[in-house]
Amino acid sequence: MLEISGVTRNFGGVHALSGVDLTVAKGGIVGMIGPNGAGKTTLFNCISGVLPVSSGEIRFQGTRIDGMRPDEISGRGLVRSFQIARGFPRLTVFESLMLYGTDQPGEGLIQSLMRGKASIDREKQLIDKALGIAERLRLSHVLDNKASDLSGGQKKLLEIGRAMMRDPAMLLLDEPMAGVNPSLVREIGERLVTIASEGVTIVLIEHQMDLISRLCDHVIVMADGKKMIEGTFDFVAGNKDVQNAYMGSRK
Amino acid sequence: MNRREFLSASAIVAGSLCAPGILRAETVIKLGVLTPLTGAGASDGPRMVKAMQAVVEEVNKAGGVIGRSIELVVEDDQTNPEAAVRAAQKLVGVDRVPVIMGTWASAVTSAVAPVCWESKTCLMTVSGADSITQLPHQGYIFRTQPNTALQATKHAEYIASVGAKKVFYVAVQTPFAATMREQIASVLTAKGSSLVGGLIYESNKTSYRSEIDSAIAAKPDFIYLNSYSPDLTVLLKDLYRAGYSGGRITQSYAYTSKVAEGIQADVTDGLITVQPSSDVGSEAYSLVQKRLSNPAADSYEAQATDWISLALLAVQKSGKVVGTDIRDAVRLISQGGGTKVYSAAEGLKLLQQGKDVNYDGASGNCDFNEKGDIMDCRFRYSAAKGGKIELIKIV
């Protein structure tokens, strides 16, 4: 579904990504782990079009997407979240969810001035959808709060919720559970499994190994701007190099 | 702001709007002054206000007009047409002045002109754009500044008469800059001299070296500086530095006594200034010099003196403080066969005795054509010497 070949990205001479080759098949949850600075977030930025690649190719569902604008990539059903929750501090949670809705005729000038039926109908559909997602993510009670008033964990939930508003084919989640309290972590985990079972492919950057081991069928390990190894969690965790690079017992 | 705060704020403002009306004494005649006190023209406006106030004081001391004393209501036009229109609306709407004097920038005059003629208010101005008197103003506009053709012709004749063969024209960007150039060129050619080049520059720059260089490159023996004070200072300094030694001429309103104070004398020595004037040894002009204690009273001060004098004489003549009557009376006291008078006070005395007067002003004879332009005038040429201005001649 997602094919990445030979992707590099330089920041002023420093290689953040130095030739990443990997493929993500349709379905399931893929974990992406690796030490800080391994290039995981940079890779997400490149895939989502937020950063241009320096070289290499990225294909999504067979179409080349490197060089596309972020909105075009998002429009193809590839949606991401951010590691440090980013978003719209002056929008309410509800508005933030609604914003992510696809196919909104009301975003046109004429429709917004006329309050056309098409836009109102679509708005109603999106409201139902947003309310449903808020319910599932336990955000219903904060719908009218500004996003800037949310706790760190709630911001993370909002990021997931926003992404789900787009009915994505693939979700790239950058540490969605960081800073979320443990009971909710379990809940989000289950939610992700459900989402995945509905046919959404999820790529998940995460540091909590128990989560990775529980949720992911497949794990990709990144180190030094490259893919190091991939496989099942047990396979990966058993690898000496991985233990050296990630777990930190080098000697 | 909540509702109550808003209401009380409105009440205060409404109160202040009404206050002048309450305080207005029936006996006072209010005349409007609309002139730049801030913005680009701000160095000229206050001078004109002072000149007018000096006349008002003199007349009030002598008993006023039609038995009433005079008060000037001064508003700032900010040298901006938008602000000026608001100020003009206030003068005609609130103070109900029959005459507005003192607009300076042509754009300001053109902008307030419709407000004036529609409210039947006279407008007296120094603005130079020829288009102003072409407006459909029904006679309400009086411009004491000679029109471009008149000025250009007379100035060019003078320049040719002092023997200049190659003249260069430098002008700040104004509505009259380009037409003046054409007129000067044709007169010069007719007089056997020539215009070797001209440039129109942008105001408000801190240096005009390159402009001056390109002027000097044409090797002129005379340069016409059609500028306002801030630019003129820079131009004169840049000409001096560049070693230019030919003749220079400029308007007296640009080279004022204040400007002279700020520049070293040898930079300006030999600079010729010109201003419209009536006669050799014009009595009106010497009265202005005395009244303002300024031997180098410039064109704007002279014109300001004339506006207020004309307005007061016209009120006395018509016996009414009404714009339309003033409009109709101006020509009755400024031209024709009456006794020549050179100041408002003098003229008022004669008018009160039932005599006819013909006001000859500090800026000229003040004879207006049907468009409101002055018909003909002479020009007073002076030369800067040691920081002072010495009369050369009046032509």
């Binding site: 800080n36 600075g37 706790s151 760190g152 979320v180 050296n244 930190g248 | -």
Partner: protein
């Protein structure tokens, strides 16, 4: 006897969003204490709160017998606590030597002697003395950041993920330097992702979970504990 005593501290970036929900934390003299825990548990926030970048809404922070909670960062640093943030911890557009000077801003008298000492300690800094800090490699930058902290001869050094983004070799080197500092008499508090390695060089470890102390104890003991290994260290 603790150099630093943090008691029941509650703090966060905005009202109603507390990240530290009652943390107790002590650092003794000549001791490396390391703080580990999952992302978002409040490890960095703890250090920032001690350094004065965040004002605790409750609890007390006592350093060397004097309460320092609520102080501004520059006052905290004058008390002898040197904080090395995780990112942006050097002045990129200033030279290495100028960075050291800024590190010792509050003690200008001893600047030259200290700078020489620090550069003797970290010879790479001497070599790169006149280079702009942003041209240094990640590891060199971290060394410079630690070097800047040493310029004030602090009693306590707070290090926020000093090995983040470093190559294993550079991380090893840095950890070795941290141990040397401890041996030279400094108290050090260390937040690390690189949990095992950090615990290996530290004397005591705190594990924070969701803004609260979860487990604390001597590092070797915790490292040897199977459950802890599985739950927090991914082993």
């Amino acid at each position: 006897m603790s150099v630093l005593a943090v008691e029941n501290v509650i703090a966060g970036y905005s009202v109603g969003d507390q990240i530290l929900k009652g943390v107790n934390f002590h650092v003794g003299a000549r001791e490396i204490v390391c703080v580990v825990g999952p992302n978002g548990a409040g490890k960095s926030t703890l250090l920032k709160t001690i350094a004065g970048l965040l004002r605790p809404s409750e609890g007390s922070i006592v350093y060397d017998g004097a309460p320092i909670n609520g102080m501004k960062p520059h006052d905290v640093s004058r008390h002898g606590i040197a904080f090395v943030p995780q990112e942006h911890n050097v002045f990129g557009n200033m030279t290495v030597y100028e960075n050291l000077e800024m590190g010792g801003y509050i003690a200008p008298k001893h600047f030259r002697a200290r700078a020489d000492e620090v550069m003797k300690h970290f010879p790479i800094l001497l070599k790169k003395k006149t280079q702009l800090a942003r041209t240094l490699s990640g590891g060199q930058r971290q060394l410079l950041a630690v070097g800047m902290a040493l310029m004030v001869d602090p009693g306590l050094i707070l290090l926020d993920e000093p090995t983040a983004g470093l190559s294993p070799a550079a991380a090893d080197e840095l950890f070795a330097e941290i141990r040397k500092l401890r041996d030279a008499g400094k108290a050090i508090a260390l937040v690390e992702q690189n949990a095992r390695e950090a615990m290996a060089i530290s004397d005591r470890t705190y594990i924070l979970v969701d803004g609260k102390n979860s487990i604390e104890g001597p590092s070797p003991e915790l490292l040897a504990n199977e459950d802890i290994n599985r739950m927090f260290l991914g082993g």
